[in-house]
Amino acid sequence: MYGFAGQMLRINLKTGNISKQILSESFAKEWLGARGMVAKILYDEVPRDADPMGPKNKLVIAPGVLTGTFVGAGSKCGFGAISPATNSHADSSVGGHIGPELKFAGYDLIIFDDISPEPVFLFIEDDKVELRSAKHLWGKGSIDTEKQLKEELGEDFEIATIGPAGENGVVFACITHDFGRNAGRCGVGAVMGSKKIKAIAIKGTKSFPIYDLKSLTKQTEAIIQRTKPHPNMAPWQKYGTALFVGWSNDQASFPTRNFQSSYYDQWQTIDGERLVEECRVIDKACFGCWMNCGKYSRAKTRHGDVYIEGPEYETIALIGGSCAMTSIHDVTFANYLCDNLGMDTESGGSVVAFAMECYEKGIITKDDLDGHELRWGNIDDFEFIINKIAYQQGIGKVLAKGTKGAAEILGKDSIKFAMQQKGLESSGYESRWAPSMLLSFMTSDIGAHHNRSWSITVDLELGRDEIKGKAPVVVYLQHIRPIYDTLSICRLFWGELDVMPEEYVESLNYVTGWHTTEDELLKTSEKIWNLTRAHFLKRNGGPGRIHDIPPARYYEEPILDGPAKGKVLSLEKINAMLDEYYEARGWDKNGNPTEELLLDLGMKAVVDDLKEINLLGKPLPDGIPKVRGQKLKPKAM
């Protein structure tokens, strides 16, 4: 089989049994890798009643079919599990080098089952695969652990680790790799910690077969030559994602003080310009990438200098804007704290911002904080509370459940400003004046994550106040994204450098020898989307619509200030957007997938599952749409 290493590992952590199995070609062709494989494995293998932190949950590591190839930025690796934050399917990807390294060692997939009696790390050096004791690493920070393992094993091992937050079950704990790149979302690090896996260390020296290496090389060389002079290359190389802080603020979409506002008057203290001038040490790139958008940075702190890759836009938005920081050094330091403690900076920033608002409103008091304060923009307060969360101490034990879980304990209407969807904290775009962006967050299968569909430009093109006509475009974007997530390549080459989906289809066929079309990949995306929707319904009940309604802040509280002052969506408009969205998807009015749709996608088993729990969508009077999803038609000039 071309494009794959051809083997997978099944590891039972309780018994220590490690089994090498042949990767089935039909499975690989159907699900491609990363997000696709993760979705199928979790759906089929994790019992419906399995506790996300218990022995029956699985941790899946899956690069994709283009990972480790010559295809530009084929660096990604998926980490998946039932999320303790959302109680459903979760996949989170990381760039860097660990995905390619796993394939070079000879494996396309690792599935961890059960719980180890003692802390362990997985050691892989080509054919040698062992669970080794991690007692000496347990309790250490993610960055510190990566450094120590590289010292112990050798610089050429690629390492992924968890920090104390993952060990202690913080529901937004992440998996960290390459000194600051993270599989950040949905608490995959907490699941890794619950299984007592501290780290994964991989060294691979093999290769895997490519069907038409000559054509692939020629295509990639042409893309390199074409993209090097691309106008977007220089600004991205200089600033990375941080360059969008000013734009997001201009557009009144920059979350400020826990999304109370969408405009931050101190944005120039924390933007890309400040990052590059004050903190950037060197640029970093993932495997196979010539854009180098990663910024390895130094922050000056009261403890001395610390080093970390970042902060990226999302971190600046959710720690910088949402916690109202006024120094890029403070944001970078907070980024370092989250990474070393092993927490997602997006959820971590959001949870602290939520706690700061609770403190402002008197819901959390000094008594809850050992006499400490929790003031907007105060880095010492941020450091205090983020440590409490990582070690589940005092109020940290409440906040470690994420904003939704914490609000359910704290009460006093705090759920209205717990800025999450389905239990996952929102990415860094305030959306009361960006309805399609909000719809993307509302309907995302894993919760409010921007990478599932980034549609704010749809709002810019079709009108910020308009709600009609946006849902089919959101569906289309939700189908484009999984192409990148299953092939396991960085989407920035598409968005930034005009490397188009059809070029990746060509690459895929050079790599595999298949004759796949873009339409087939879009259909795979739709299958994945419906599979994870069904999985969510199976584990969390229904109807689907109740999980898609956003926090009340979006429809009850007008934006406080800035260009979007006074903007707010009504619940009626939100439901109207959902109506349009469900129709575009072929789901019923309740937001449940219909039998006709699932059969059209070849998912008979899912029909049976949803029937069993009475959550199969009612037949649509006019049948399902033939085409689900629609490209944005550019506004006429």
């Binding site: 994602t241 360059l243 969008f244 734009w247 557009q251 920035l492 930034e496 000039m637």
Partner: protein
Amino acid sequence: MICNSVLTAKNKGTMTVYLKSGGKLREKLKPDVDQYTRKIEVEEGLSLREILNQFEIPVELIAFAFVDGRLERLDYFPEDGQVITLQPPVSGG
């Protein structure tokens, strides 16, 4: 830091500016120098926003400009001969 060079009235005349962009914005820009670049003649003293409006290039599709290795906003005042890279918004993080 925003760095604008506001021209005084005595400098007013026409100037040449090169606008560059990729992606969807490139279609709107209608490049004529190379695949990414369009050469335009405009009155001196206009802000980038005014220039883009004059040439019917949709400002809502532009996140910022990149000029001489720096980020600039749409209220930037271009100078004769400058190459202005227009950056569309893209998600990331």
